[in-house]
Structures are given as structure tokens and as C-alpha cells.
């Protein structure tokens, strides 16, 4: 599905080269939920942007669905959810969700049908006619997820989508995201700062570390697919979270 081999990305800056990513080897299978966790500057967002062909690696090979990331982008293989909802203030919620559909040339009837479907999927029925400023931050982020789901991309890339939200809203959205994932069977790449979020959501957790940005550990989750919020108090959950924390600490070396 997504395959990175010896991937590296070096930015040339005035202060010399910055190694945003070095020697990243990772394969993400269809239907997986993979989280990327690590401190700022570890390259987790950069890696996601490479998959989305928003950045271009300088070393190694990266394939998405067996083609180059650019070809996958042109085939509209993925939906991308950014840290901010980024809804257009001059469009209603329905209009915002319609945006990718208009660009991709879906028929009017199909557009309306899909908007109705995805808004209900993210629990925003009846909010289609509202403007973004009339919604709370959490609802706006749900609308932006609906926008990424509206077309038939089978990969969903999420860059700290809940980072700006408070913890209560975040918990709810995490729960809903798992349901959504179960309902749609999409492959999800998820960047986060939060250990509990990563452990709760993922089938696999990729721990990364900075200078140079690299993968230091990949942890398979042993949690069942069905995950109520209470699972976060279970022994198993705490053990995995501990391993992630250890991985983060190891990656940091003597710095912490």
C-alpha cells in the first residue's frame, strides 16, 4: 500500500543542510491505522507530506499504491486532514464538503448525496447550511474530516487533526474516528503528539526522533479492534504506552 525504502529528505538552508528524514523504512498495509509520534522536528509531518506528494524526498524510494506519490495524488488516492480545519469561511459546511467533489467533477446529484452521507458519518446531520464560524472548533474539525472522506480516497492522512482541541472533545473525536475507520476500512496515517491518543487509535505506532529525523521504534498494538474509551485504564494499554514513552526517551538520548 505505502512503502518507504531508505527514504531521506534534506532541506538546504542558509545554515547548512537540515536532515528532516533519514533512512526511513516502513510499509503500511491496506486498512492499517498507523500513528507517527515524536517530538517537534522528528519528521513525522514531513513523512506524511512526502506520502501526499506535498514534499519530495531527496533519497530513497517511496511508493503509494504501487505508483509514485505524485501519480497517487493525481489519481486522488488520499484525503488529507490538516491541523486546522481550514474551512472556507465563505462556504457553508455543505459547500465546504462539496469543494473536492466540485473540483473532481462529480455530478450535482452525486455531490448532494455524498455530502449528506459523509455529514451523517461525522455526526453533523442538519449542519450543512451553517457557516463555519457558527460551529465549535470540534465540529469544524469533524467537517474537515467529512471533506476528506467525501471522495473515494482509500488513504486518509491526518496531521495532528485534534491537536488544537481540548481533551474532552478530543476523546469523543478519537472514539468517533475509530468507528469511522471500522465503517470505511480506510488506511489511516495519523500524526500526533499525544501518547494516549496514539496508543488508543493505532494498530501500529511509529516512534520517531529528531536530528536527524528518523524512526527509532515501531510498536505493534496488541489491543483488540473493538476499543471502548475505558480500555485506556487496562494493563495492556498502559504497557504499550510505557513502551512508546521508553522509545521516545531512547530516541532523545542524553538530551532529556
Amino acid at each position: 500500500m505505502i512503502e518507504a525504502k531508505g527514504l531521506g529528505l534534506t532541506f538546504q538552508t542558509n545554515d547548512g543542510p537540515v536532515h528532516a528524514l533519514t533512512d526511513v523504512n516502513l510499509t503500511i498495509g491496506k486498512g492499517e491505522f498507523v500513528s507517527f509520534i515524536g517530538p517537534s522536528g522528528c519528521g513525522k509531518t514531513t513523512f506524511l507530506r512526502c506520502i501526499a506528494a506535498l514534499e519530495h524526498p531527496t533519497q530513497g524510494a517511496l511508493t503509494v499504491n504501487g505508483t509514485s506519490p505524485d501519480a497517487a495524488r493525481q489519481a486522488r488516492a488520499y484525503g488529507y486532514v490538516f491541523q486546522a480545519a481550514g474551512l472556507y469561511p465563505w462556504r457553508t459546511i455543505a459547500g465546504n464538503v462539496k469543494l473536492p467533489l466540485e473540483i473532481m467533477g462529480y455530478s450535482k446529484a452525486e455531490q448532494n448525496e455524498r455530502v449528506r452521507k459523509v455529514l451523517s458519518l461525522v455526526d453533523l446531520d442538519g449542519f450543512g447550511k451553517k457557516f463555519p464560524w457558527q460551529l465549535s472548533g470540534g465540529m469544524q474539525q469533524r467537517a474537515s474530516i467529512a471533506r476528506a472522506l467525501a471522495f473515494d480516497a482509500d488513504i486518509l492522512l491526518m496531521d495532528e487533526p485534534f491537536g488544537a482541541l481540548d481533551e474532552i472533545v478530543r476523546d469523543r473525536l478519537n472514539e468517533e474516528l475509530l468507528k469511522l475507520w471500522a465503517a470505511t476500512g480506510k488506511t489511516i496515517g495519523f500524526v500526533t503528539h499525544s501518547i494516549p491518543e496514539a496508543v488508543y487509535l493505532s494498530t501500529r505506532i511509529v516512534v520517531m526522533s529528531p536530528r536527524p529525523g528518523r524512526i527509532t521504534d515501531v510498536i505493534e498494538s496488541t489491543l483488540p479492534k473493538e476499543r471502548p474509551l475505558e480500555i485506556r485504564d487496562s494493563r495492556e494499554f498502559i504497557e504499550i504506552a510505557h513502551r512508546v514513552r521508553e522509545g521516545l526517551r531512547a530516541g532523545h538520548g542524553d538530551e532529556v
Partner: protein, 287 residues
Amino acid sequence: MRSVLPILAVLLAIVAVWYIAAIRMNSTWTYDQAARAETEVSFAEVVVDTMAQERPVLPAPHQVAVGLWEGLFGQKFTSKRSLVYHGWITLSATLVGFAIGTGLGILLAVGIVHNRAMDLSVMPWAIASQTIPILAIAPMVIVVLASVGVTGLLPKAVISAYLSFFPVVVGMVKGLRSPDRMQLDLLKTYNASRWAAFWKLRLPASMPYLFASLKVSMAASLVGAIVGELPAGATSGLGARLLSGSYYGQTIQIWAALFAAAILAAGLVIVIGAIEKVALRRMGMVR
């Protein structure tokens, strides 16, 4: 309603200063006349006289008001003495110039945002164009266009457009570039064309900037049209009215024409403000 009081206070202060200035400036003439007639005048007589001179240095507010009223409603609107007639002549040139200037400004801005060569080459010229005094350019435009047989409204509109395109270029370049990196990246993930990015993102995002520019450019258009009426020996238009007033020392006529122009400008800017409000509300950009 609470804001009415301060506004009235400021207005009153302006009128008061104006009256004092009128008395001071016009009294010279009164004293000269008295000296010539070898009579003495009391201060009260001076004040009364300065309020009602035929060609005062500075007309008193009520003289201007009467002059303005007479000019607007004292005769048929089609009369050569009517400020409505002259105002209409200037307004028509202003509107044509505004339309040309705005259209040109938007086109240039679109070019600047989408084409690197234009980005580097157009802006310096646009800025340079605005550093040349319009009074120097206006006679040339009128003479050159007259030599190819174009007279009347169009030369004035050209001068008007020359002044009004600039704020639109500056505002629209800023507006079309206002979408942030994330919003552009989002469209990239949809593999959207530049065309789609323009119509669906850049253009709507630029609307608040456009309306702000339009207000400036509308006022500039009016100035351009009036300046365009000055050098041509034009016989109609507010500019011509200003010029003939100064030829014959008709200060009241000058001030009445000035106020007519100011009222016209205010009206035009208010109209744009109203359109802005409706447009942005329909776009959901006003809460």
C-alpha cells in the same frame, strides 16, 4: 445614538473655526473699503459685512450652503448653471474611468499573482506611474487623444482610470495571495488546477481586499475626472465649474462646486460600502 453628540460637537467646532477664519480673512477688504471712503467701521459692522461679501476671500459656511442649494435646486437640472448638470458630467466620466481602472487593476493583479515575469516587471511600473503628478499627465492625455479625434468623456475617463487602477492592483495582489499555505496544499491534494484554485479559493478570499480597494479607487476616479476637466478648457463638469469660478474670483461658486464634489464622492463610497455589506453577508463573511 450615543455617537451623535461627539459628531455634532466636532461639526460645530469646525463651523465655528470656519466663521472666525471668515471674519478675519474677509475683514481686510472691509477695512480697505472703509479707509477708501474715509469712514470708520465698528467691529459689529465688520462682522456683518464679512458675512455677506460678494467675493469673499473665504466664504462663510451659510454662503456656501446657499450657493450649493442654489446650484443644485435653483434652476432646471439641465441648465448650464446647475451643479446637478455639471455633477452628472463629472460622474459619468468618473464611473467609466472607475470601470476601466478596476477592470485593468484586477487583470494586472491576476497576471502578477500567476506569472513570475509579470510579478517582477509590472509592479515597479505601476508604482512609477503613480509618482508622476497627474496634473502633468492630464493635458498630454487630452491633447494626444484629441489629435486622434477622441474628445469628450473618454479622455477624462482615461485620466480617471489612470488614478484608480493602482489601489485595485495593490489590494487585489494582496487579496489573491491571502490564502495560506495550508489552503493551497489542500487544493493540491485534490489535484486541483490553477484555474480551480483561482475561482474557488483565491478570488473569493480576495473579496474583502477588493472592496477596501474599490473605496479608495472610487475617490481617486472622481479626482481624476475633475483634474481631467481642468486643462481642456472644458465648459461643463465640476472641474470646469471650479476653474471658471477661480477665473472670475467667484469664491462662493468654487466652494459650492468643491462641496458638490465631496458629497458626490461620499455618496459613491457609501454605495460601494452598501454593496460590500450585502456581498460579504451573502458570502457568509460578515457575522
